[in-house]
């Protein structure tokens, strides 16, 4: 048991520098790159694309826009999905197009098209101008943009070693089927699903401020879910490979994840879960593994510190925030224990949120969200930063965006999205194992599971993949039907120990939804194992 657990919990360092790819499928004659030599594709800063973008900006300016930006993006995705010994699907998706945003008399308009010729681009820009002009009628407060450093020009690429689109399908399929086979060898395992997902987005952004940036962003996620079914069909339990997070890396992330080597351990845990003890509801000290805690951080720190929520822009869907109004919270609100230091950044190497510039050509910076437990600042875009101008001037901070503008595709308008929001390690040498020894009566939770939180981010209920009962500093067995419920500020005030730099791990998600129409953001959250005191645990098992 202990050897299995140690191996199971080992977190590989999957971040590495490597060669970069300087090519783009934009405007390519071919449908694109999987089987097309990269050398056949035009460069990222293709003059034809640049000329189209200039058409959009010139049309916008001639139509009365005080500001405009235009994005051209080519997005390539590949999914390989398997179940048991069968390949369920291999799909390759390739989409490209152009979106233009215009600001006329302080009102926004946006339009997008997949027809990339000069006439279509000009027509689409006219549509965006028409939107903005129509929206002026209800304008109460005009949009004002914070200044940028200006004239951002450059190129950025994700730090990948191996382009996943250059790896043979046969290798990918063999990798997944080997992992499935390893899981199916575990007695009691009935079903295995595994998949690989890859993304490459090549994006150019040009603004009337004089910025022109081109970026190539890669993301990769290998994953598997193993299900065990009891012999009498009365129960089934699953364990997913949640310690393997999606990353802003290349195919090396797949090979480093070692699914086949780890599958038997996940399979054994799924089988053991069938006979695990149902949790006794009550208050427990919780030791949360980073593969669980990242999601809690995402929901209870990442989202409520978005300024658009705090101001009410998301009230109809994603919700508002308990961290409001800003003037009562900034620099004052005790978010939690002094161990709590939270930073926002879009720079961390290998993270899902890593970029060179945001979708307003702002170069992101690392910034404090919570320092020693006290709330410091919100995530912002250029439009949002000016809403905070009075406060920033009062405390001597520049009125500037933190670079949190993002659109999920060329067809969607950019708005405020979360950067990587991460809990900083403690100044100690603690690891997951050494922290188990600090728990007298508690539950150690690995992997993320069911998660739900209210629209202001107070009341959360989170589960996990594997739940270990801890007594006297030792794991004594597995529990099941565990979920923890909390009120966010109380939960973080109960933070009593965190791991050191050696235990730092990045979790993350591709599908963070917000906005109307809803858009997905990809974001990572770094964190360390952490102990939370006396958290309410419920038993979610119930007979039909």
């Amino acid at each position: 048991m202990s050897r299995t657990r140690r191996d199971f919990l080992k977190v590989g360092a999957a971040v590495a520098a490597g060669s970069l790819v300087a090519s783009s499928p934009l405007l390519a004659e071919s449908s694109s790159g999987l089987l097309v030599p990269l050398s056949d594709l035009p460069p990222v800063d293709d003059p034809a694309i640049k000329a189209l973008m200039e058409v959009a900006l010139n049309t916008a300016k001639a139509g009365g826009a005080s500001y405009a930006d235009v994005r051209v993006a080519a997005r390539r995705q590949q999914n390989v999905g398997t179940r048991d010994r069968i390949v369920q699907g291999v799909s390759d998706t390739d989409t490209y197009g152009l979106g233009v945003r215009t600001l006329v008399d302080g009102a926004w308009g946006f339009a997008a098209t997949s027809k990339l010729d000069k006439d279509s681009v000009a027509r689409t820009t006219q549509l965006a101008l028409g939107q903005a002009k129509a929206n002026r009628a209800s304008q109460l407060r005009p949009v004002v943009l914070a200044p940028t450093p200006g004239n951002q020009v450059g190129e950025w690429k994700s730090p990948i070693e191996v382009d996943p689109f250059n790896v043979a399908i046969t290798d990918k399929v063999a990798y997944l089927l080997a992992a499935n086979e390893a899981a199916l060898k575990v007695k009691g395992v009935r079903n295995v699903n595994s998949s690989m997902f890859f993304l490459r987005e090549e994006k150019s952004l040009m603004t009337t401020d004089g910025s022109y940036v081109v970026q190539t962003i890669y993301r990769a996620q290998p994953s598997m879910t193993i299900t065990a079914v009891s012999s009498d069909f009365s129960d089934f339990q699953s364990v997913a490979s949640n310690e393997v997070a999606p990353m802003g890396l290349g195919y090396e992330h797949v090979t480093n994840s070692k699914l086949a080597e780890r599958a038997p351990q996940w399979g054994e845990l799924a089988v053991q879960k069938l006979s695990a003890k149902p949790v006794e509801p009550g208050r427990y000290d919780l030791l949360l593994h980073p593969s669980n805690l990242w999601l809690t951080i995402h929901e209870v720190i990442g989202h409520p510190t978005e300024l658009d929520r705090a101001l009410g822009f998301e009230a109809n869907y994603a919700g508002t925030s308990f961290i409001a109004p800003p003037e009562a919270m900034l620099g004052k609100m005790q978010y939690g224990s002094e161990l709590m230091n939270i930073v926002g950044d879009r720079e961390q190497r290998g993270s899902l949120g890593a970029i060179g510039w945001d979708d307003e050509a702002v170069k992101p910076v690392k910034f404090d969200i919570v320092k020693n437990g006290v709330f410091q600042d919100y995530q912002t875009t250029r439009e949002q930063a000016t809403m905070m101008a009075d406060y920033y001037k009062r405390v001597g901070k520049p009125v500037r965006s933190y670079g949190c503008s993002y659109a999920q595709s060329w067809a969607d308008v950019q708005f405020q999205r979360m950067p990587n929001v991460s809990l900083q390690p403690g100044n100690n040498d603690d690891t997951w194992e050494s922290m188990i020894a600090k728990v007298d009566r508690g539950i150690a939770i690995v992997g993320d599971g069911s998660f739900s939180i209210d629209q202001q981010r107070y009341n959360g209920q989170f589960a996990g993949q594997v739940f270990y009962e801890v007594r006297g500093g030792k794991i004594v067995g597995q529990l099941k039907d565990v979920a923890y419920q909390f009120r966010t500020p109380d939960f973080w005030k109960g933070l009593k120990a965190i791991g050191g730099p050696r235990s730092y791990h990045l979790g993350g998600a591709f599908g963070d939804g917000k906005g109307q129409p809803s858009q997905s953001n990809s974001v990572s959250h770094g964190c360390v194992p952490a102990i939370f005191q006396q958290v309410n645990v419920i038993n979610t098992g119930r007979k039909a």
Binding site: S91, A111, A112, F233, Y317, G319, F322, S450, N459
Partner: protein, 463 residues
């Protein structure tokens, strides 16, 4: 900017049948694969978003995506592209074929279908509103909110689309869809009250922003200054949106294979599935019907089978589970013609209603909770279709036959299976928007219901 309605069914925006056929033929003509399937999705979207009593963003876009699936024996792979020129489509078809050759054979692959007979396309015009018309609809809500010293946030979405499916065995299916939705959340400036309302339909003219505004404003006013009451099991009166939020989770769990393999609530202990067994109150009937869909025609599933009305639960008994073609063949039954994912194909769901109005439900309740809608609904235990989530934007205490006051929101841990066994009353079925993000695309018809012992497990301070 013209205020005249514009049709998004213009050839430049959404493909006509002839245009879709032409694209499909181009792909099939150039595909080197033994068998090829072409799926075409052409769509246009126009939306307007408002917050803090003014329009904040609005947008329009259009795109056509072509998915080419190449088959080499039992090997298959798909390539999707939005580049529609002949060379790009030919290259995509070639690429799908090249990938398919590398994929191991799938012994569960079913052969492509030949030509099918579909119901005739029903003509229904869709007038997509101009940005000015959408802004004017938004203003109806923001102005009513402003005059009541409240703050409105909301979203209007209009979609039009055309889909086609073709294969090298001569199958061709074409379908066009249209749907619109408007939702609004109105809040009190002090953040103590919040009310929500929605209006859904197949065309902009079907929306009723005045009624929507009145409902959201009234709820915002009445929901101010909520008080805390103890969590626990309460009689709950669920408005139709709240019912839809949870009942729509049942068909998603009705995959026959998962049930037969012991991985579902619909698995029978000891083996087999629960078809024919009673799982909920005898007054519950749940069905999907292509006629309910905003689709202009009956629609078809991913393989090209024409969709048909499927009754999933009838008078409380499990009537059907969802069999894909492979599993149906293996089990010796007919494939279910409802599309993937339970009711994904028809994008519709209907629960048959009753005659008890919400007012009557309230009048006959000694102590209970009235719920407007649910939020952040997530699976907790697939063995019982148990979900968690929270009430939101209008939660009220009912005492002695009257709504007495606004209460703080609750988290629940409940299964639609459980509360449909605790049914006390059902009201008339109405169309709702059951999507948490208020996106269009489904036609969901739900009644209000009154249930006993709804499991509210904790309080939320969120408004």
């Amino acid at each position: 900017m013209s205020h005249a309605p514009r049709s998004l069914f213009a050839p430049a925006s959404v493909l006509s049948r002839a245009e879709a056929q032409e694209i499909a033929q181009r792909v099939l003509r150039n595909s080197p694969a033994e068998e090829t399937r072409v799926s075409i999705n052409s769509g246009a979207r126009a939306d307007t978003r408002f917050a803090l009593n003014q329009v904040t963003t609005s947008g329009e876009n259009q795109d056509t995506q072509v998915t080419i699936t190449a088959y080499v024996g039992n090997r298959a792979a798909s390539v999707n592209t939005n580049r529609l020129d002949e060379a790009s489509l030919a290259a995509a078809a070639k690429q799908a074929h090249e990938i398919a050759k590398l994929v191991p054979p799938n012994p569960e692959r079913m052969p492509e279908l030949g030509p099918q007979t579909y119901p005739p396309l029903r003509e229904r015009a869709l007038d997509i509103p101009t940005p000015a018309e959408r802004a004017a609809a938004a203003k109806i809500v923001t102005e009513l909110a402003r005059t009541n010293d409240l703050v409105a946030t909301g979203f209007i979405e209009c979609r039009a689309g055309a889909n086609a499916l073709a294969n090298s065995k001569g199958l061709f299916a074409y379908d066009a869809t249209a749907s619109v939705s408007m939702t609004a959340t109105v809040r009190s400036p002090d953040g103590t009250g919040s009310g929500w309302a929605c209006s859904d339909g197949n065309s902009f003219g079907e929306l009723d922003p005045k009624q929507l505004a009145a409902t959201a404003v009234q709820k915002a006013k009445e929901s101010r200054n909520p008080v805390a009451i103890e969590p626990g099991r309460y009689t709950a009166i669920l408005e139709p949106t709240a019912v839809g939020n949870l009942v729509q989770l049942i068909p998603g769990a009705m995959q026959a294979r998962a049930a037969d393999e012991g991985r579902s609530f619909f698995s029978k202990p000891g083996g087999g599935n629960k078809i024919g067994l009673k799982v909920v109150d005898g007054r519950v009937t749940l069905l999907t019907d292509p006629a309910d869909s905003p689709s202009l025609s009956g629609g078809y599933d991913n393989d090209g089978l024409p969709l048909e009305k499927v009754v999933w639960i009838e008078n409380g008994l499990v009537k059907n589970l969802n069999y894909d073609r492979f599993w149906a063949q293996k089990q010796g039954v007919q494939a279910t013609r409802a599309g993937g994912g339970g009711f994904g194909g028809t994008r519709s769901l209907r629960m048959l209603g009753g005659s008890t109005s919400i007012a009557d439900m309230i009048r006959n309740t000694e102590r209970g909770v009235l719920v407007t809608r649910f939020w952040y609904i997530r699976s907790v235990d697939p063995r019982t279709i148990l979900y968690t989530g929270l009430t939101r934007d209008g939660t009220f205490l009912v005492e002695n036959g009257k709504v007495t006051r606004s209460i703080k929101n609750f988290r629940y841990n409940e299964s639609p299976i459980f509360f449909l066994n605790n049914l006390e009353a059902i009201g008339p079925t109405v169309r709702i928007n059951s999507s948490e993000s208020a996106s269009t695309g489904g036609a969901v018809f739900m009644p209000p219901i009154k249930v006993r012992d709804f499991n509210f497990t904790s309080l939320s301070d969120a408004v």
